[in-house]
């Protein structure tokens, strides 16, 4: 056997290599998650405990005072609700709109399809800041600033979403659709009863991307939501961090509340997220 004939030196080298690899990876993982550990730990300290030298890494006595303060005095429940409503609404509506368009691109033949698709794809390079000023004015004209619509309407369609869904649907066999058509199903019925159920994995992926993107987004909600009661969590957090610069523990609790929901959603559905990255990464 090969193992038996291997020299001692060879095994030593391999052992050292593995030892280095594992210790390197463990150290790197610890450094990567340390900010999160510290955030959670500091959020459970009473005010002032984290601002000491040498720094305290474990709370002497766990307290939820910071969380209580956030929800009872600083209106964080409301921001949480705003973030949640927006993230759910945008993901659901855009899922519907993008899957309709993705279906058309994947399964229909029509004039100008290929140029239109390429045109959409290449316009993805345009940074969103270009459109922010006119869209802001448009929303202002229609009185939609400081309303959920200001974020939902521009988020209804995304080129990335259309691309993702159409790539997935292209791989489905046409025979299913033809069979349904022979049975007398209409186009919308086919989309609703056959395409959508088959496309479930990619729909979950896109919903997850959109949910996380909307939840984490900062610049657009900062611009659209200037009224305090309409703040999303990131906007509220950045606003608080201006006012409560010194209160480390409070800000850490605020960060925990902002991060936890999106992290939990990600952890539960990470398989779909990774698939989405890979699908987006594969160029034709």
């Amino acid at each position: 056997m090969k193992m038996v004939t291997e020299s001692f030196d060879h095994r030593l080298i391999r052992f050292t290599f593995r030892l280095l690899l594992y210790s390197g990876l463990i150290l790197a993982s610890f450094v990567t998650i340390f900010p999160f550990l510290w955030m959670v730990s500091a959020s459970l300290m009473p005010s002032g405990e984290a601002s000491s030298f040498p720094p305290k890494f474990i709370p002497e006595e766990i307290t939820f005072a910071q969380y209580r303060l956030l929800f009872e005095r600083l209106n964080v429940g409301r921001y949480f609700l705003n973030s949640l409503i927006l993230a759910i609404a945008v993901s659901m509506i855009s899922l519907f709109v993008n899957s309709l368009a993705g279906y058309a691109f994947a399964k229909f033949y029509f004039r100008g399809k290929r140029p239109l698709f390429l045109f959409l794809l290449s316009s993805m390079i345009i940074p969103s800041q270009v459109t922010m000023l006119p869209v802001f004015l448009l929303l202002k004209q229609f009185g939609l600033l400081n309303s959920y619509w200001g974020i939902i309407l521009p988020g209804m369609a995304s080129i990335f979403g259309i691309f993702l869904i159409s790539q997935y649907l292209k791989s489905l066999p046409d025979s299913l659709i033809e069979a349904a058509r022979i049975d007398g199903a209409g186009n919308f019925q086919i989309y609703w009863k056959i395409i959508l159920p088959l496309a479930k994995p990619v729909l979950v992926t896109l919903a997850l991307f959109t949910f996380m993107g909307t939840w984490n987004d900062f610049m657009w909600p900062l611009i659209v939501m200037s009224k305090e009661s309409m703040f999303t969590l990131p906007v509220a957090l950045s606003n608080l961090s201006g006012e409560y610069v010194q209160d480390t523990e409070l800000m850490m609790a605020g960060s925990v509340i902002t991060i936890i929901p999106v992290l939990v959603v990600f952890l539960v559905l990470q398989k779909y997220y990774i698939q989405g990255i890979l699908m987006g990464g594969i160029k034709e």
Binding site: A101, P234, L263, G281
Partner: protein, 294 residues
Amino acid sequence: MQTKLYTPYFFLAPALITLLIFFFLPIGAALFMSFTDFDIYSLGKLSWARFIFIRNYAMLLSDPLFWKALVNTSYFVLVGGPLTIFTALTAAILLNSKFLKLRSLFRLAFFMPVATTLVAVAVVWRYLYHPAFGPINYLLSILRMTPIDWLGDPKWAMPSLIILAVWKNFGYNMMIFLAGLQAIPDSLYESARLDGANWFQQQIHITLPQLAPTTFFVVIITIIGYFQFFAEPYVMTQGGPVNATLSIVLYLYQQGFRWWQMGYAAAIAFVLFILIFIVAMMQMFLRRRQEARA
């Protein structure tokens, strides 16, 4: 497939109309705005904006703050981008080791920052960087090094934001690299081993060339993303100290949505677009040439 001619357009309509109203028409509108002196008075009455042709762009060229923002952003892109990609590639190659146990656990740890909210982690890092009480300076003090005023020192503020950006983003690129690595056939490495190539030589002569298409994609998305950096300086430094972290998008935000110089801000947005476009085209060109040579 037998369908009426207009059927696909029904399916396309909601998305295309949305994109038209909130994306394509605004691009034209922004271009038009960038040729006007649209300001806070025009905000009250749109018709008060006057056409001033290219004066905004001419003003940008002689605006020291804009140049500062341009230099800062380039610094962030040119240093932060390669660092992020290098970290991602290293992590991916290590995680791709065949005998590695607990791979998915390591992968998850490296990916966690990607899944979280930028503003929240920026708030956390602001305290990690605290000159007196921050854990990072505590580590330096253990190593008997002089403490650094990370976010307060103009020399260190940008490197601080770059470190945060690398930490936050490398996991995403790592995932893409991992997929690319898994597509490289084992036989290539085996024959290289037979030829006596060591581990390092294998990475240089097999992994890197095989990963070229993946790397191209990663470089493009990283550059586009990094050109638009905004939340980090907004939350952590407000562009300071002495404008050391003022980015193009932060300057655009200040001009457009704080001082309501929206014509001027639109011009900044277009310069940003042109920069991104040029860099992407350059990448594409290099890639073509590389492919032609291969």
